[in-house]
Symmetry: C2
Subunit: 316 residues, 2 copies
């Protein structure tokens, strides 16, 4: 049990407390829920930014540069980096090292990596719970950095107030992004590594694809910003665009509307996760295990067995 005193001490100058609370929250037990309930009144002030895109687009570099810019403006930044990398590659590890050297020692920056391996289902829930801790601690900006390859990572990016999709000029990247559902979630695009050949035609291709979508005069048309994150080019334009999108959300009432929408998704996820934990008691798990041979032999259908388990749960 975490003492209430610790939650009161939660602020950006106490990284150890923030870190400890996130770890407690990640456990996903009743203690985690008590913490999340206790800190909730302190949340709601951080602006949440989602940065996503295909592997290799330069999301980490962009996150680092944007963080440095916000720090110059005197703002604090919490970063939640969701890393779906298989243990076979060292890519993420290398990126983490660069990141630690660049911004990891800044007292106004908090970085948390979350691995997808083994916990894919609950990942968006855990990331958003961790963001609540950072929000309650008082970080001005929270950046969710995810590789846009799975539904779960799209969900996280979309839980932000402003979602940035990062692409590179390589041909076909826009098409792949479209297939992966990235076009639908972008509030604006960053065409990174725009010093490479083909940057202008890639921008044109992206614009054409965006124009083909259903839209009218009131639709937010995602702008495309050409940048070279590694050389700090156009990072100021990206920060400006975030402010512009924020003002658009506030003026149109969409800021509250989106947060209500995201809250509804979140409550649904919490309810469904709790029911799942509840239904799979040891007894019902054993019952399932014992009947698997009968299922494979065609003696009992999966639907019949499911009915038995549900009926047992509801009549307990």
């Amino acid at each position: 049990m975490i003492a209430t005193g610790i939650i009161e001490k939660l602020n950006t100058s106490e990284k150890r407390i923030t870190s400890r609370l996130i770890s407690k929250v990640e456990e996903g037990n009743s203690g985690s829920i008590e913490i999340l309930k206790a800190i909730y009144p302190k949340t709601g002030n951080a602006y949440r930014i989602g940065i996503t895109g295909p592997p290799g687009a330069g999301k980490s570099t962009l996150t680092n540069q944007l963080t440095k810019l916000y720090r110059k403006q005197g703002k604090t930044v919490g970063i939640i980096a969701v890393d779906p990398t298989s243990p076979f590659t060292g890519g993420a590890l290398l990126g983490d090292r660069v990141r630690m050297n660049e911004i990891g020692n800044d007292p106004g920056v908090f970085i948390r990596s979350m691995a997808t391996r083994g916990s894919l289902g609950g990942l968006s829930k855990k990331s958003i719970d961790a963001a609540d801790v950072l929000d309650a601690a008082g970080y001005d900006y929270i950046i969710f950095e995810t590789v846009g390859v799975g539904q779960s990572e799209l969900d996280i990016a979309q839980a932000a107030d402003t979602t940035i999709v990062v692409l590179v000029p390589e041909s076909g990247d826009a098409i792949q992004a479209m297939k992966a559902g990235l076009m639908e979630i972008a509030d604006f695009f960053v065409l990174n590594k725009s010093d490479r050949p083909g940057a202008d035609s890639a921008k044109l291709a992206l614009e054409t694809i965006l124009m083909l979508r259903d839209h009218d005069a009131t639709t937010w048309m995602p702008p495309i910003i050409q940048a070279v994150a590694s050389e700090n080019k156009a990072i100021d334009k990206i920060a400006e665009q975030i402010e512009k999108h924020k003002n658009y959300l506030l003026e149109t009432g969409k800021f509250i509307e989106n947060r209500k929408h995201n809250s509804a998704i979140r409550v649904k996820e919490i309810v469904e996760k709790a029911l799942q934990d509840d239904v799979w008691s040891d007894d019902r798990k054993s019952h399932l295990e014992n009947k698997l041979t009968n299922i494979v032999q065609g003696e009992i259908s999966p639907y019949k067995l499911a009915e038995e388990i549900i009926s047992n749960y509801k009549n307990q």
Copy 2:
């Protein structure tokens, strides 16, 4: 309500009945469950093959060629093609047309396309339900063809007895496949379009990556087959490899073990989906809607609201 008579008539020479039953099953209502329970004793005889890989690897072409080979052997084939394509691209549509011309009119082949748009959550459940209808109808082989980009599609591919991952020699494809979790689910690999430059070095790269994984003498090491599906090259080797893997599964007892494992996943999914449908009654949905403003304003935490909803559900 579907009359029992129709289920009795279900067989490979009655495509209309198969088609109608799959549509009924896709509705996911109580009628669907009755059908699935009624046909279940007739299932379990089809051999299930999953074919997955990145977009553009040639999965459809390979599926078509393998189907033609099985047809020459006098076997019937049911295909479930899961298509996550955004409406902005015509790729899948074009592929469907080619497929219809090549194998669509063969009375021993049944093709069903399933779209991911709007139904992502229930997709693996629906695909496996549809496979049960094809199994009960008496198809010898069922092929699940999915684009390996999302968790849901990986789940479908993995629900098969033998899972084939299709890659192309382009550099980086193996790395991307690894990141997308494709390496973990492959029973064997097809390196398609192996007439292109770099096919041998791609094979070597893939072998190296596979050797790096934890393995001992009893581990199944996924073979790599170089093929050119569009020219019908090595399709016979692929069919042989499927038989070889099938024999391995049968000899080691893993065939039953895997089917039990997949049945457990399936029952869990059915139970959890049923509870979700059950908890979100109109009353509880309204209660959630009415409280969203309070959540956004920090007056009630999402966890507190979730507790209210669960408690209302369990005390009904």
